[in-house]
């Protein structure tokens, strides 16, 4: 299991080198998108409208940050822990197909549709430690901008400049491996052993 440091935009070749279980520290431009921002981006793309910036090779972070604005209008990150990624499963594959982002960051894992899209287009899912909001904020050098504030601050499209943001665990790589699925399978396999400890029958 390797420890890798990458700066966005990341090429498909670099992404393909990552394996599930690797540790990643990310620098460069990343953007935050939750349910609403994903939907709006896909809709705009399909209507042929121009997006605020090119997502290609960038990292998208499932996060609704706590931000504050100072007197000069500059935004600052107070806390930025990951939100549960499974909510994005229903459209993450379409998002990857259209925008060719290279990294999806979140917590709790994603499923088959996303895993398939990541394999096809060269993208990875990187898990950030749940609740580790201070660590996350430490890895963000600066808020570069924000779009779609009409969605509300947690749902808006925030653009961050990351500086060794991590540690991130590659949980889905671009070769079809999904760590969360592997762990679920392991837990299933271990269920009888757990039953044995408590003296329950193994059905």
């Amino acid at each position: 299991m390797a420890e890798v440091r990458l700066t966005t935009p990341i090429s498909e070749e670099e992404i393909r080198k990552l394996k599930a279980g690797d540790t990643l520290y990310l620098s460069g431009k990343m953007f935050l998108a939750r349910d609403e921002a994903h939907l709006r981006a896909i809709e705009m793309f399909d209507e042929g409208k121009e997006l605020p910036f090119d997502f290609k090779g960038l990292a998208v972070f499932h996060c609704g940050p706590i931000v504050k604005q100072d007197d000069t209008g500059q935004w600052h990150v107070v806390a930025a822990g990951p939100t549960t990624s499974s909510r994005m499963e229903i459209f993450q594959d379409e998002f990857i197909e259209r925008f060719r982002v290279s990294v999806v960051i979140g917590k709790g894992g994603m499923f088959e549709r996303t895993t398939a899209a990541m394999k096809k287009y060269g993208c990875v899912y990187a898990a950030f430690t749940g609740g580790a909001a201070v660590l996350a904020a430490d890895g963000i050098k600066k808020v570069e901008g924000v779009e779609w504030l009409d969605l509300g601050t947690p749902e808006a499209l925030w653009i961050f400049e990351a500086d060794n943001f991590g540690p991130l665990t590659i949980a889905i790589d671009s070769h079809g491996n999904n760590l969360f699925k592997d762990i679920a399978d392991i837990a299933e396999k271990n269920r009888p052993k757990a039953y044995e400890i408590i003296g329950a029958s193994k059905e």
Partner: protein, 295 residues
């Protein structure tokens, strides 16, 4: 004597410190888990958690962006010379409101028929658990509870015939399906007996015990140990990314049950095992029990 002004100040401190600094027993439990974790991924997660809460404590910022729903436990000594008991609720509510802007804590009180109140208060919130105890002191515990782990709490009405083994099986099955969702390593509070409401109250209260301190009754302590071992056999690990430490401890307790029922409750605490307590004596002196708080 008037206690409400003291209570407001103390409750503010307790809520603030609970959000920003983990109690020593939780720090120790997570650091021990780090030593014991065999999986590299699991160890990396625990390492990140440790770095995160140390950095939060240093900067006096909340260790997690979800600063929870505000809960207080108040134990009032029957012999405490209190003249303003009726003002206690208001004092605690004021304290919670103040933490929202001054810590800051995330506004987490949402009206199901409206919107976010914006200040962590509203109908029934902060929730206050009152208890009259013997003695002449007042004890207050601030216990903010995060949503991710609370979503994994449950009550089940079992058939008494399944017995204690049936109870343990429910716990194991439940924690396997919870997987990484409650931000493990977790503390699992288990209670049986009483009724649906009684069981979940007892289960939640177990989360306030020093992590890993066994139940004083031998049979219960043994069951706690078995459950912990079983949960940690699953391999779910820190953050559900694999490892041998899925839970830090299982804390169990019970009440008498109705002959026809076997209620059981599971209350789940994430790694951010936040709480802070203080004792106020009859003369108004304050002693903080978890944190070194001045003023």
């Amino acid at each position: 004597m008037e206690f409400a002004p003291i209570i407001e100040k103390v409750a503010f401190n307790l809520m603030k410190y609970s959000a920003t600094v983990l109690p020593d027993n939780a720090i120790k439990a997570i650091k021990t888990a780090y030593e014991k974790e065999k999986s590299t991924t699991g160890k990396a997660q625990l390492g990140a958690i440790i770095k995160n809460f140390e950095s939060g404590a240093e900067k006096s910022t909340p260790m997690c962006q979800d600063t929870g729903i505000h809960i207080y436990y108040v134990e009032i000594g029957a012999d405490c010379p209190i003249d303003d008991l009726g003002k206690f609720r208001e004092a605690l509510t004021n304290a919670s409101r103040k933490t929202t802007t001054e810590v800051p804590m995330r506004p987490n009180a949402v009206d199901p028929f409206g919107s976010n109140s914006g200040d962590n208060t509203g109908r029934y919130i902060p929730w206050i658990n009152w208890e009259i105890v013997s003695g002449d002191k007042i004890k207050i515990t601030a216990f903010p509870k995060g949503g991710g782990s609370e979503n994994m709490s449950t009550v089940k009405m079992l058939k008494p015939g399944v017995g204690l083994t049936g109870v343990m099986k429910e716990v194991v099955d439940w924690m396997i399906s919870a997987g990484g969702q409650p931000c493990p390593p977790t503390v699992v509070g288990v209670a049986i007996g009483g009724g649906a409401d009684i069981a979940i109250k007892i289960a939640k209260k177990q989360l306030m015990r020093p992590i890993g301190e066994p139940h004083p009754q031998k049979e219960v302590a043994e069951m706690e140990q078995k459950l912990l071992k079983a949960i940690n056999t699953t391999g779910i690990g820190p953050m559900g990314l694999g490892g041998n430490i899925t839970s830090l401890a299982v804390h169990m307790d019970y009440a008498m049950r109705h002959p026809a029922s076997l209620p059981m409750a599971i209350a789940v605490q994430c790694w951010a095992a936040r709480q802070s307590a203080a004792e106020i004596s009859a003369d108004g002196k304050v002693k903080y029990l978890h944190h070194d708080i001045k003023d």
